[in-house]
Structures are given as structure tokens and as C-alpha cells.
Symmetry: C2
Subunit: 237 residues, 2 copies
DNA sequence: ACATATAGTGTCTTATAGTCACTATAATGC
DNA sequence: GCATTATAGTGACTATAAGACACTATATGT
């Protein structure tokens, strides 16, 4: 049989295939804490429980998985996040009561203010503080996905400035250091922190400053691809 | 409606779902070169082209995705690899002529000798040198998956000894250094290389030695979880 | 003006990688 | 046997980047 004939005769529904969903662990940083966006499930299974934003791939609307996850995040926040990265794919027969299911989970970062308006218009979406999250029961294996997402972001805090994407467009170095400190759960040397960022030329000085208390701090914004930069040496844990 | 009633009424086939496959980029190191295992496709589409070992999830036989990939690798090599890690999930409407498809791709490492017998009994499986692989046309997006796998392994060579899993159970330090050098495409300082491994106590001295030419080299084997160790500083690129 | 708070720097120390010459131990050839 | 060659492994100094911490700079509040 030719390939053409094979493809004409082929019907995907002849095979059983797992359910395929996409989820996003979307982090932000606000009021000194790392937060994750959760959504209240409107339907069975696990109706009423909180879960990650996500859902089924729409084979008509979505060209690829990334489009699916961006569509899902936009539905809840109103905007596309500036940082998105594949986190893990979970697939087994037990994670969803409806049967064998696969979820492709992404991690995304966004500033709090950027999507504040969008989130306030969506009744069922809410930021949850990472600390204490283990006390509430989430749908499916989403608790585990968040754990993996936090661990990944923590690792990145050691050798990159990816956590900067949890901040607004413009931010100060002390703010960024604070995010890293919260992620790593310990104080960092400001000299070391500043020095490596300066040497790698990762940030653009906006020329602006911001004063809260004390001396004003310089406002920076991320240079293009600064999220891809890996320092040759980690901050010590 | 109760959740119980919902689940009883639920039929996964009511939804369209993408095809779900699992693939493995299996590397080994032999005769001074990094190799990847490829399989010749017996069926449409892309019949006759080489591709990664992998295939559909068997929802009856497989409890989870990792079982699927291990089953598929065992079919071609006869053994389960000592190192396996999720690499990336590719999902879009174009990668497979049969329609919207998702592949969960793993990367795995194994010693050449360990599976030599298994591979020789499988007619359609063969090791390919990474160098020059870009000249042959692979099925689906498997060329891209291999590229991502090589890049990931190259990164790991900078801050871990994960590449050791491409070697036999027992190996010498110069052998391991050579793997890293091939991955990074440049010579490394043996003093630096040895020192960091010794300091982190990652290998077990087997007490045995091996002589090829010159002074005999000590044979080591990996300590448990040595693959998880991350050096605080990278080798310089 | 001074106290307080926070931003940012100077400089020494420490940890770890790079360099490279040196020693150690095998096989080989005369 | 002994020199030669090849490869394994070490010693010791240098270079780089992080840690520590005191010091300066520049705001606000009284």
C-alpha cells in the first residue's frame, strides 16, 4: 500500500488515545511572597477544588501545545506571560478519574500588576501564596506539578535571573534580590548579587529611580534574552 | 449531577484527542564518538526512514509514560537504561501526517557493551554517530529531538557527570573525561576534571585497574545518585 | 541639622577552575 | 637490562568569581 492510500484509510479514532491536557504553573511575586495562580473547577471531576489553569487541546483552534497553554493563561489573566517554559509531562492511568490522561505542564512567570486587571474580572481565578499551599487539596496531581515548578524556579535562581520575570517590567536590584532570597529561603550578599548581574550586562538602566524609604533605587528592565543567561558559578546554597 | 453519575456517563471517545506517542533519544559512547540509537520504520507514514525508538502508549499495558518508554527501549536493546530523563514534549498538528499528535520524548543513556547483544538481535535498530547525522533524513521531527537531546547532554557535561552513564559500569577517569571533551568539542584540563570529581566523592574506586597503553588507569563505578550531583561551578566553555 | 533607612561600593577573603611541569607505571624495542 | 614511549596521576601556582563586611551615598522624617 502506498503512503497516500494508507493516510486516506487512516482514522485516528480507530486507536484508543489518552486524554491530552495542558496546564500552566503561573508564578508571580507580590507583597514579599511567591504566588501561583489557581482556578476553581466548575465541572466534574474534582468540581469545586482549586487547580492549575489549563485544559484540553483544541485541535481546531491550536496549532501546537504552546498556543494551547498561552490561550489558557490568557483566558484567566488577559495577557500572555513574558516567560514560558516546558516543565514536565505527567501521564498515567490514575491521575484523572476519567481515565488514562497526559498533561503537558508549562511554567510561566508574570508581573503582578500586568495581569491584575485581567484576573479581577475572572471570578474563579486567584493568586495563592506558595507558603501554606500544601494545606489545601488541589485537583489531580497539580500539587505535585506546583512542587516541581517551585523546585525548578529555585534552581534557576541559583544560576540565572529568570525570577526577574515575576516582577513588573521595571524593577530595582534590591527587589530582584529579594525574589531570589525568598526562593532560596536565605539572605544573599548584595555585592555578589549585583556584581554578577553587572558583569554579565543583563539589565538596562532605565535612567529612572524609585524611592520608597531611604536612598532611591535605580529602575532596570530586562535586556532581550537575559533570561537565557547562565552564570558559570552558582550562588551558594 | 453527582461526580459518580458524571463519571459513569463519561466516554473519552466523545472528545477528539491527539495521538500520543513516546520516544527515546538513547545515547551511548563508543569508539570515541557519541552515538544515538535509530530504528527503521516498518510502517507508514515515513516507511523506510530512520526514527527514534518509541511508539504509542498502550493504555492496557502501561501504567504511566515512563513504563511506555522503558518498554520501547527494551524492545530494541534488551535492557533498561541506567539513566532516563524527560527531555521535551512536542505537540502540533503538522509533525505527523496522521494528524494532531503529541510525543513525550525522553533522553536515556546506556553503555555500549551492555546492550550490544540485544541490539544485534534486532534487525532494524542501529547506532548512528551524532557527527554527520544531520545529513540523513529522519522521520517526523526526530532530527530536532536529537538536537535538543545533544544540547541537554552537553549542558550537563558542564556541571555534572551524567555523561558517565554512556559508559560501561566500570570506567576510567580518562575515559569519562574523553566523553566530556567530545560533548563539549574541546579539550579539558585533567587536573580540574579529576579534582572536582574527587572532592565531590562521586565515584567508587573498584580497586581494579585497566592497562591499554602506558600506565594503568584506575577503574571506577558511579556511586548511587552521583548523576544528581551539580557542581557549584561549571567547566568553562 | 541630625537620625534613620535603604542603595550602592571598596576591598579583602575564600572557593574552585585553569595551567603546566613534574612524577608514576605500564609496554616495547634494542 | 635499560632506554624510549605512552598514558595516568599529582603538585603548586594563577585566575576568576563568590562571600563577607565595613564604608559611602542619598533619600525621608522630626
Amino acid at each position: 500500500m502506498s503512503e497516500k492510500a494508507f493516510l486516506e484509510a487512516y482514522n485516528p479514532k480507530d486507536h484508543d488515545s489518552p486524554l491530552v491536557t495542558v496546564d500552566a504553573v503561573l508564578f508571580t511575586f507580590h507583597e514579599g511572597a511567591l504566588k501561583v495562580l489557581l482556578v476553581e473547577r466548575a465541572n466534574h471531576p474534582d468540581r469545586g477544588k482549586w487547580c492549575l489553569p489549563g485544559g484540553f487541546v483544541d485541535m481546531q483552534a491550536d496549532e501546537n501545545l504552546e498556543e494551547t497553554v498561552i490561550r489558557k493563561v490568557k483566558e484567566k489573566t488577559g495577557v500572555a506571560p513574558p516567560y514560558i517554559d516546558q516543565l514536565a509531562t505527567m501521564g498515567n492511568s490514575k491521575r484523572d478519574k476519567r481515565g488514562w490522561s497526559v498533561t503537558v505542564c508549562y511554567t510561566a512567570l508574570i508581573g503582578y500588576q500586568v495581569c491584575e486587571a485581567g484576573i479581577s474580572t475572572v471570578q474563579d481565578a486567584q493568586w495563592f501564596d506558595i507558603a501554606g499551599l500544601d494545606r489545601i487539596s488541589l485537583a489531580f496531581d497539580h500539587q505535585e506539578l506546583i512542587r516541581i515548578g517551585v523546585e525548578r524556579l529555585r534552581q534557576k535562581a541559583l544560576y540565572s535571573i529568570v525570577p526577574a520575570y515575576t516582577l513588573p517590567d521595571k524593577f530595582t536590584l534590591p527587589e530582584l534580590q529579594h525574589v531570589h532570597e525568598v526562593l532560596l529561603g536565605k539572605p544573599l550578599q548584595k555585592k555578589s548579587f549585583r556584581r554578577r548581574i553587572e558583569q554579565a550586562d543583563l539589565l538596562i538602566d532605565t535612567g529612572q529611580q524609585r524611592t520608597e524609604r531611604g536612598r532611591p533605587a535605580t529602575l532596570y528592565r530586562m535586556r532581550k534574552h537575559s533570561g537565557d543567561h547562565r552564570f558559570v558559578a552558582n550562588l551558594r546554597e
